[in-house]
């Protein structure tokens, strides 16, 4: 299946009808990633490992932005890197548009998933002009006939709100916000199906962040982009994403439509996150004193719910039984024994379906 090539003008919206069966655009199953801890033997396998992602199933639907939130060490960045192909998981399957991606991706497979990075200062080669960076990608993938490369580069820059003049500029002369736009243009140059945005506004000033988010929303609407939006900032995720997944210590603990999850969180960790965020109206933030995340290496040892040590609702069952993601319908699920009004004996309280 090929992506439409050089139509008049870019960007052209993706033709959904030509996309194939209406399954999820991206499907991840059983993804597990671990890294060797320093101090392990020279030849790898013998030593201790740290589990970054511990069995994640995730679907992304065509045209949606899925937010992936969590604090440091939760594995969201690693998961993003698995999707993009930079990190090879220890286990798990990954499919884009129903076609499984090989471990070692082909050029065409790589083109389908592109990434925009967090740090504007290191995301562009300081020695190459912007135009050269874009042209190189266009040329190597034969996106357009060689004679059209200049024109296409201009169109890409215009799509992210930068003047054509910037083609000949070195990144050193650009501001952080402008560099992020260039990064977005670079990611779009290959007309990917999926865009992974890894904390793309975290290093920007608030007012610039708003510009970049507005741009992203605009592009998403026009191009029908599917996006995995990784962020630790829940407010930003609220603006951008239709669905959100909350990660904790390598697992997804809650996932559902953003409005629903934020308005009525079903996992204690989600509630903790939301209640910890300072609000502009000065409502006092009063999360229960919850300590810090237990080390993320203990994936193998813990039997019960990972969040139990910090959880205000923890019961004996939580320490025995690792809860699976559950929800009355499959749209909003949570990995907690007491989500959706369930009680310890499995019955459901009134008020929840």
């Amino acid at each position: 299946m090929t992506i439409p090539g050089t139509r008049a003008g870019f960007p052209a919206p993706i033709d959904r009808a030509a996309m194939g069966p209406a399954g999820p655009a991206v499907s991840m199953r059983g993804v597990r990633v671990s890294f060797p801890l320093p101090g392990t033997s020279l030849f790898g396998r013998g030593g201790r490992r740290m589990t970054a992602v511990d069995g994640v199933d995730l679907d992304l639907y065509q045209g949606e932005a899925l937010g992936l939130v969590g604090e440091s060490g939760c594995g969201k960045t690693t998961l993003g890197r698995v999707l993009v192909g930079q990190v090879t998981p220890d286990a798990g399957e990954l499919a884009v548009d129903g076609e499984a991606l090989a471990r070692k991706r082909s050029r065409d497979e790589r083109r389908r998933v592109q990434m925009v990075f967090q740090d504007p200062m290191s995301s562009l080669n300081p020695r190459l002009q912007i135009g050269q960076v874009l042209a190189e990608l266009l040329r190597v993938h034969h996106m357009v006939p060689d004679k059209d490369i200049g024109r296409r580069t201009g169109e890409l820059l215009a799509a992210v709100g930068l003047p054509e003049r910037f083609r000949d500029t070195l990144p050193g002369l650009l501001s952080g916000g402008q560099r992020q736009r260039v990064s977005i243009a670079r990611a779009l140059a290959l007309e990917p199906q999926v865009l992974v945005a890894d904390e793309i506004t975290s290093a920007l000033d608030v007012s610039i962040q708003a510009q970049v988010l507005a741009l992203l929303l605009d592009l998403k609407a026009r191009l029908g982009l599917t996006m995995l939006f990784i962020s630790h900032n829940l407010a930003v995720v609220r603006q951008v994403c239709e669905r959100v997944a909350v990660m904790y210590l390598g697992r997804i603990v809650e996932i559902g439509p953003t409005d629903t999850v934020f308005a009525d969180p079903q996992h204690p960790y989600t509630r903790l996150l939301l209640s910890s965020i300072p609000r502009l109206d000065g409502a006092p933030i009063d999360p229960p004193d919850s300590g810090e995340a237990v080390g993320s290496g203990g994936a193998g040892d813990a039997r019960g719910c990972r969040f139990a040590p910090r959880c205000p609702l923890a019961q004996p069952v939580c320490r025995e039984d690792d809860p699976a993601l559950y929800g009355p319908d499959d749209r909003h699920v949570s990995a907690c024994h007491f989500s959706f009004g369930r009680t310890a004996d499995g019955t459901t309280q009134k008020g929840h379906q």
């Binding site: 192909g85 930079q86 082909s106 790589r110 990434m115 080669n125 190189e136 990608l137 290959l190």
Partner: protein, 297 residues
């Protein structure tokens, strides 16, 4: 830096590490970064290069032409710096010597640079067994003292410029490889390199266009100081009678030859020595300036 901690103690260290310096250090640092350092260095090296290039027009005599009748003559109108034991004009030999030393210094280190940089690039980029093999090789080479190895190689390879270049390449590649490997390992993790690889750009292209250009600054700095050392080494080897054969004019050999006449014609040994030193200073000024600026990028 002293202790850090409460604001009352070395408070500057919290906000600006390195701001606590002595006056002398600060002056010195400023001198290094002064544009004059670079200008003087470049000026010196340019003059030497010009002399080397225009040697046939500048030198009054053929450096190999002997005139035993007028050997060991003091400076005069005909021979501005006098003649050596075989009646050859010292000035002409100095001028032509520039060709030998500069060319040799640059070529010998240049080959080492190319060899070392390529190996370091491959090791740093691919890691894995390539890196393993290379690192062990580097360790081995570093365990062997450089100069004795150099001398040994030159004995084996025989006299002549080709042997010198080869011998230096074999002993010199190690520093470039280590430096490049370290830099490459850092650059490789930068987002723009990751982006290039995600764009399926092919390893060769990524290495050539994205990684290598961003590690060259440090390599050039190393090269500049390496040339200084190489020229000194060549001169020293010439002094020891290894490497360059007579009658080729080489500054080191000239110092050696002139040693016996220090009390009578002291210029025969000292002037070539001074010439070496000044070139060394020029190159050092350049590399120092580059190093001082390199951090600013």
């Amino acid at each position: 830096m002293g202790t850090v901690g409460t604001v009352g103690t070395v408070s500057r260290a919290i906000v600006e590490p390195g701001a606590v310096t002595t006056r002398r250090v600060r002056l010195f640092a400023r001198a290094r970064r002064s544009p004059w350092a670079l200008r003087i260095g470049l000026g010196i090296v340019t003059i030497y290069l010009a002399v080397a290039v225009f040697a046939p027009w500048l030198a009054p005599y053929d450096p190999l032409a002997q005139d035993v009748m007028h050997s060991l003559a003091p400076p005069s109108a005909e021979h501005l710096l006098g003649t050596d034991s075989l009646g050859r004009d010292l000035l002409s030999r100095l001028i032509y010597g520039a060709r030998i030393d500069l060319l040799l210094g640059a070529a010998a280190t240049g080959l080492a640079l190319i060899l070392g940089t390529v190996l370091g690039l491959l090791a740093g980029y691919f890691r894995g067994w390539v890196d393993l093999v290379l690192s062990r090789l580097v360790d081995m080479m570093m365990a062997i003292p450089a100069y004795p190895l150099l001398v040994l190689l030159l004995f084996l390879l025989g006299q002549g410029t080709g042997s010198i270049i080869l011998a230096f390449a074999v002993t010199g590649w190690v520093s470039y490889a280590r430096l490049t490997r370290g830099q490459v390992m850092v650059v490789r993790e930068q987002d723009y390199v990751v982006a290039a690889r995600l764009g399926a750009l092919g390893n060769l292209r990524v290495m050539a266009r994205h990684v290598l250009p961003n590690v060259t600054t440090q390599v050039i700095v190393l090269w500049a100081s390496d040339i200084v050392l190489a020229i000194s080494a060549i001169a020293a080897l010439g002094y020891l009678g290894i490497g360059i054969q007579a009658p080729t004019p080489e500054w080191g050999v000239m110092v050696a030859d002139g040693q016996g006449f220090l009390l009578t014609n002291w210029m025969l040994a000292t002037v070539p020595g001074l010439v070496i030193v000044v070139l060394g200073v020029g190159l050092a000024l350049i590399s120092d300036s580059l190093a001082a600026r390199g951090g600013r990028r």
